[in-house]
């Protein structure tokens, strides 16, 4: 039996279409169809001056817009040899980690709903709302923040922001305990996640998986540690790595990352120096000819931008390495032999964002 899941389906997390061949409840083959959200962003970027492209990246991984902003800005900074003031770097890291929490909370909520724990969705989004309130206060937007600029960030943190973040950190530590009690320790949840959708280490390497998906398969690979950017080499944090590679391990990686993000936030707020937040740049920004490549650890994995400049005002070529796209490519292999009910668990655990896959 061939069954069509998506592009309009409650648990494909966007407009992903999966053509499943079933034998009863067993999945024999899966063919993902992507492209329903294609906007030609890379081409659009080649037609515009460098700094005009930053808001477009908000529309890539719309659950972690700030990570995208940072990735493209780092790329342009490398291209033009722009220095970033220290305070701006700290602010960037702070916002990135808040963004990571927000993004992982979406994962947590939707993953819970996919498995039938609807209440988890509301709890996770309740806490995400607090993060969004914080980010809104700082950036002025709730989803498409566009709050990283070439050479820094547009504005300093608003007054009293640090204290509010610390209050949130304190509250959120308790809430994570609650999530553990409600979901992580739940027998049913564990039965549903353990041992399914196993990505062996070799497969993860072969497909180029990154982020939580790779780390759950035993690959200790986190850009924040491997190639530290901004001030990540000055803060202390652990990168959780699990050997098992199943849905359960991917879930645990993300839960642990929530805790680590809180640690980073506390350190960043403690160490943040005073100073300017943006480097002055000429009105028309023309980097010298060359190629630049930047990579950041977005909540979904290794997000990279490559830009080619010929010395003009517009980039000649832009390429985006979207972590979701690479991670999604493992899916057909994972689903062979899985059950229909596992489909949503596996897909949810990879945590794809279609805006980034289709670009």
């Amino acid at each position: 039996m061939v069954i069509n899941v998506g592009p309009q389906h409650p648990s494909t997390h966007g407009v992903l279409r999966l053509i499943l061949t079933l034998d009863g409840e067993q999945i024999l083959a899966c063919e993902p169809v992507i492209g329903y959200l294609h906007r030609g962003l890379e081409k659009m970027m080649e037609r515009r001056p460098y700094r005009h492209n930053i808001p477009f990246t908000d529309r890539l991984d719309y659950l972690a817009a700030l990570s995208n902003n940072l990735a493209i800005c780092q790329c342009i900074e490398r291209l033009g040899g722009v220095e970033v003031p220290e305070r701006a770097q700290y602010i960037r890291v702070l916002l990135m980690e808040l963004q990571r929490i927000a993004s992982h909370l979406v994962f947590l909520g939707t993953f819970g709903t996919d498995l039938g724990a609807t209440t988890m969705f509301l709890y996770a989004f309740r806490e995400r709302e607090m993060v969004l309130d914080l980010l809104e206060e700082c950036t002025g937007a709730r989803l498409t923040y566009n709050w990283v600029r070439v050479g820094g960030v547009p504005d300093d943190l608003p007054e009293g922001f640090g204290q509010k973040v610390l209050d949130f950190v304190k509250l959120f530590r308790q809430r994570i305990e609650e999530y553990d009690m409600l979901l992580t320790r739940n027998r049913i949840f564990r039965s549903r996640t353990q041992g399914i959708g196993v990505i062996p280490k070799e497969t993860a390497l072969a497909y180029g998986c990154s982020g939580p998906v790779a780390r759950a398969s035993g690959i200790p690979y986190d850009i924040r540690k491997v190639a530290p950017y901004e001030v990540y080499n000055r803060v202390e944090f652990d990168v959780p790595v699990f050997e098992d590679g199943d849905v359960w391990a991917r879930y645990l990686v993300r839960m642990e990352e929530l805790r680590q993000s809180l640690r980073i936030i506390e350190q960043v707020l403690r160490d943040m120096p005073d100073g300017p937040v943006q480097t002055k740049l000429p009105k028309i920004f023309k980097p010298p000819a060359g190629i630049a490549y930047s990579r950041v650890e977005s909540p979904r994995g290794e997000l990279s931008f490559m830009m080619v400049s010929d010395g003009g005002a517009n980039p000649v070529r832009v390429h985006i390495r979207a972590p979701s796209f690479v991670n999604l490519s493992v899916l057909p292999r994972l689903l062979e032999g899985a059950k229909v009910a596992d489909l949503v668990a596996i897909l949810g655990s990879i945590d794809v964002v279609l805006g980034e896959i289709d670009r």
Binding site: R48, R51, H52, N53, I54, P55, F56, D58, T119, Y123, R126, E129, E136, E137, C138, T139, G140, A141, T144, N146, R149, P154, D155, P158, E178, M181, L182, L183, R185, N186, R187, I188, R190, S191, Q194, G218, P220, D222, K225, D238, V239, P240, V241, F242, E243, D244, D246, W248, A249, L252, K283
Partner: protein
């Protein structure tokens, strides 16, 4: 990097799993019970509204300068150049020190609310305000004209044009004699 093994469960044993299931289910129910009595977070939107933070990026406004009796905008088109999606178009009024705008249009249907235009403006003329209720049933209303954008509306636009035209006329009169002096005096 901290390498660890995920908490694994013992081999399937119906009874152990069942009892474990009951216990953990009860734990979960404790959590939901606790939340049953927590204050609710619903904001009943049309009746209640969240406060909008000062940096919120909503509908634009053109700043009214009470002292000079005109809009701050001088029609330099820096914002239009900074815009990635060509939202802004304007008609410049006059030139030189007293220049202003007679028409300033924004097509919010194209706008990403990215704040780049606000950052590009050197005259503090354009801001993003707290108004976020921009949905409409008609397509043509996404076009916001100067009277919709200016602080003070029609009245402000009329005064703005009056002031600028008066200043321009004065400048025109003063020009042949003491051009440099007049310009210096007014730009204070």
């Amino acid at each position: 990097m901290s390498r660890q093994r995920a908490m694994r469960d013992t081999e399937y044993n119906p009874l152990v799993y069942f009892i474990d299931g009951l216990v953990t289910l009860f734990n979960g129910m404790v959590v939901t019970w606790r939340n049953l009595w927590r204050p609710k977070i619903t904001v009943r939107y049309p009746y209640q509204r969240r406060p909008v933070p000062p940096r919120y990026r909503g509908l634009f406004y053109l700043k009214w300068n009470e002292e000079k009796q005109r809009l701050n905008c001088v029609g330099c088109t820096l914002c239009a150049q900074a815009c990635p999606t060509d939202v802004i178009s304007m008609v410049k009024l006059g030139k030189g020190t007293h220049a202003g705008v007679s028409e300033f249009t924004m097509d919010l249907g194209r706008c990403m609310f990215c704040n780049l235009c606000v950052e590009a403006c050197p005259f503090d003329a354009i801001y993003m305000g707290p108004n976020y209720e921009l949905a409409s049933e008609r397509r043509d209303v996404s076009l916001f004209r100067i009277a919709d954008l200016a602080q003070g509306g029609e009245e402000a636009v009329r005064k703005n044009i009056e002031t600028i035209e008066r200043l321009l006329a004065e400048e025109e009169k003063a020009k042949p004699a003491h051009a440099a002096h007049a310009a210096g005096g007014q730009s204070e």
